[in-house]
């Protein structure tokens, strides 16, 4: 279930450990929760897409349809009090971390009731109440924030961890290198997760990543690096759970490369001229949701009626979030002046 990245020697034999990671295997309840979470992400984004094209959502949005296995594999391996640093493609990460659909939908609508009061929008959503420390419009930025979150965990003496997500394209920026190195030096409780959907906007992974493997870069820092099938939520979960176990236990950071497929355009409106249609068709055949569903059905944990109930509940939640967003007020224009500083008693 866990694939190895091409040349990924892990200096402390952690591959063997990761092979054992299925001892973190989720029980029936968690499996069902993971299934529901993926569907929740999917339906949220599909509806957001429709609403975007209907002109209800300003700005631009980057959807993760097809990539839910990564978001939920990560989210399910984290506790509510763990932290997560996200990307420009972060709706799924927030939902998987347990964030409120209402606050999220309202935010991307630009409403005053949004999780960021309408100041952030899709690329800057944040929900501190579930440890989601922000999407980011600047690629790879989370990679350098992460060691500091890890340091704070260490200095406060809690057993939290922080996961940081970034794309395959983002991994080519300097902060990846600096953040991984610093986290490794500090043995900080950080889990680096590269969401490799093989494209950075119109640029193919092979054309931006010398050597081809991001997981393989871990060896250079003396930390475990594994590549997993990101369309298999359980494989992602297993790898992340093992990395989390290491991190909580004081064994420091890990790097996971989760290979997945972006079904839609880079952002809504992207005509995807650079990409053969067959690629997405192939991706759809690896649908992480169908895959977990088949697994659940095979294990007799889910039948059609149960699945329908799950789908219905999610539908209701998403529609509720939409209704909430639609009926919420826009911010007052002058609220643009609020929230810059905690402390600003000056007239200047």
């Amino acid at each position: 279930m866990v694939e190895e990245g091409a040349p990924t020697p892990a200096p402390d034999a952690s591959h063997a450990r990761i092979a054992r990671a299925m001892t973190h295997a989720p029980g029936p309840d968690q499996l069902l929760q993971m299934y529901a979470a993926m569907l929740r992400v999917r339906r949220f984004e599909e509806r957001a897409r429709e609403l975007y094209h209907a002109g209800r959502i300003p700005g631009f949005i980057h959807l993760s349809v097809g990539q839910e296995g990564v978001a939920v594999g990560v989210g399910a391996a984290l506790r509510r009090d763990d932290y997560l640093l996200s990307t420009h493609r972060g709706h799924g990460h927030l939902i998987a971390k347990g964030g409120s659909l209402r606050a999220l939908m309202a935010e991307i609508f630009g409403k005053a009731t949004g999780c960021c009061k309408g100041k952030g929008g899709s690329m800057h959503i944040a929900d501190a109440s579930v440890g989601y420390l922000g999407a980011n419009g600047v690629l790879a930025s989370g990679c350098v924030l992460a060691p500091g979150v890890g340091l704070s965990i260490q200095m406060r003496g809690t057993d939290q961890v922080v996961a940081v997500l970034f794309g395959d394209g983002a991994a080519n920026r300097g902060p990846f290198h600096e953040g991984v190195n610093l986290s490794a030096l500090w043995r900080a409780p950080v889990v680096f997760v590269c969401e490799n959907n093989s494209w950075a906007s119109t640029t193919a992974h092979e054309l931006s990543t010398a050597g081809g493997s991001i997981a393989a870069r871990a060896a250079g820092y003396g930390i475990p690096g594994v590549a997993v099938d990101g369309n298999d939520a359980l494989a992602v979960h297993a790898a992340v759970a093992e990395a989390v176990r290491r991190a909580r236990g004081g064994d420091g950071p890990s790097l996971i490369e989760a290979k997945t497929v972006r079904w839609l355009g880079h952002h809504e409106g992207d005509p995807q001229a650079y990409r053969p249609k067959s690629e997405v068709e192939e991706g759809r055949r690896q649908d992480p949701i169908a895959r977990l569903r088949a697994h659940l059905e095979g294990a007799a944990l889910l039948d059609a009626a149960h699945a329908a109930r799950v789908a219905q509940a999610i539908e209701a939640d998403v529609e509720d979030a939409i209704a909430f967003a639609e009926s919420s007020p826009l911010p007052e224009p002058h609220h643009a002046l609020d929230d810059l500083f905690v402390h600003w008693p000056w007239k200047d």
């Binding site: 409403k111 690329m123 800057h124 600047v138 920026r173 119109t202 931006s208 609220h335 643009a336 002046l337």
Partner: protein, 323 residues
């Protein structure tokens, strides 16, 4: 004169310069397909992938490599994607590109152009909306220009590419699809030559890039009130055409400076000082400034509109000066 939009005028400039000089190449993220704003569309087809280079997401290396190339005989044109991301290559721009020639006693030249798509609009949010030109105007060793029309865009970009020194050209995102007349023949717009975009006698409005359009709109509105506004577009900030500014102020005795970025330590603040220094005795009123409040750019449309400098503010400021 043919009419074309600002983005196409830039595209034309790139084509003309790449045809003229085989040392010119373009580099940036996703530029082969013309992303993000269409300016590099069709270049790869004509000039090939060696001269139109998609780069990985490595801003420091994109910009830094361009200096390496410029020092050794090429003429790079770098697409910063969004000017906001120049923060990811700040050292390369201000410590390497701006200083190398000087620190090396003139031994090398750095004929490179940084294309900086920038500005507010369409709820792009806090990381894709900023005006960062002030940092580079504050950095000795860089030339900086800011076109406001398709003709200026083409003419300035061509000049920037031919200039033997590093030039930053700030291209406002909201202008890319604005139309205008562009000379049929190849035309350069020099650096250091301001352009009076509208003549007037009562008040001088100094504005660049998107704010020129707002200033012209404001001038229309003011004209209806009987106030004659002159709109001066410096076009390049480094070098700055002080003489044209002085001539205008000598005529109007009142000045509004409009910019899109924030108030503090900005280009507008500096222009205000330039005007005051050279035209103090001509001024009949304090210089007025229009700029953004000192906050990041918010996402939601009502708040974004609130922080977007616009013609109405120029009108109000000019009216106040006429009292």
């Amino acid at each position: 004169m043919p009419v074309m939009d600002f983005g196409d005028a830039l595209n034309l400039a790139l084509k003309e310069e790449m045809r003229r000089d085989g040392r010119v190449y373009c580099i940036g993220e996703d530029i082969v397909l013309g992303l993000p704003f269409g300016v590099t569309k069709g270049l790869a087809e004509e000039f090939g992938l060696a001269r139109v280079r998609n780069a990985p997401i490595s801003e420091a290396a994109i910009v830094g490599s361009s200096l390496g190339a410029a020092m050794t005989g090429l003429v790079p044109v770098v697409d910063m994607h969004f000017a906001d991301f120049v923060t990811c290559a700040m050292d390369e721009v201000v410590n390497q590109i701006a200083k190398s020639r000087y620190m090396f006693g003139g031994q090398i030249a750095c004929p490179l152009t940084l294309r900086m798509p920038y500005g507010i609009g369409k709820s792009a949010g806090g990381h894709h909306s900023n005006s960062v030109e002030a940092w580079f105007v504050n950095t000795p060793g860089l030339k900086v220009c800011m076109p406001s029309t398709p003709a200026d865009a083409r003419g300035l970009l061509k000049t920037a590419i031919r200039d033997p020194d590093p030039v930053l050209i700030f291209e406002h995102r909201a202008l890319y699809r604005v139309q205008g007349e562009v000379p049929a023949e190849e035309t350069l717009v020099p650096l250091g030559a301001a352009d009076v975009k509208r003549a007037g006698t009562d008040v001088t409005v100094i504005a660049t890039a998107r704010m020129v359009g707002e200033a012209l709109l404001a001038a229309e509105m003011l004209a209806e009130e009987g106030i004659s506004a002159e709109v001066v577009d410096p076009r390049s900030l480094v070098p700055l055409d002080r003489a044209t500014l002085a001539a205008s102020v000598a005529k109007t005795h009142r000045v509004v400076i409009a910019e899109e970025g924030p108030m503090r330590a900005s280009v507008g603040a500096w222009l205000a000082w330039v005007v005051m220094e050279q035209s103090f005795d001509e001024l009949d009123a304090p210089i007025a400034r229009v700029a953004a409040p000192d906050v990041p750019i918010p996402f939601s449309p009502p708040m974004e509109a609130f922080v977007t400098a616009h013609a109405g503010q120029i009108v109000a400021a000019a009216r106040e000066l006429m009292k």
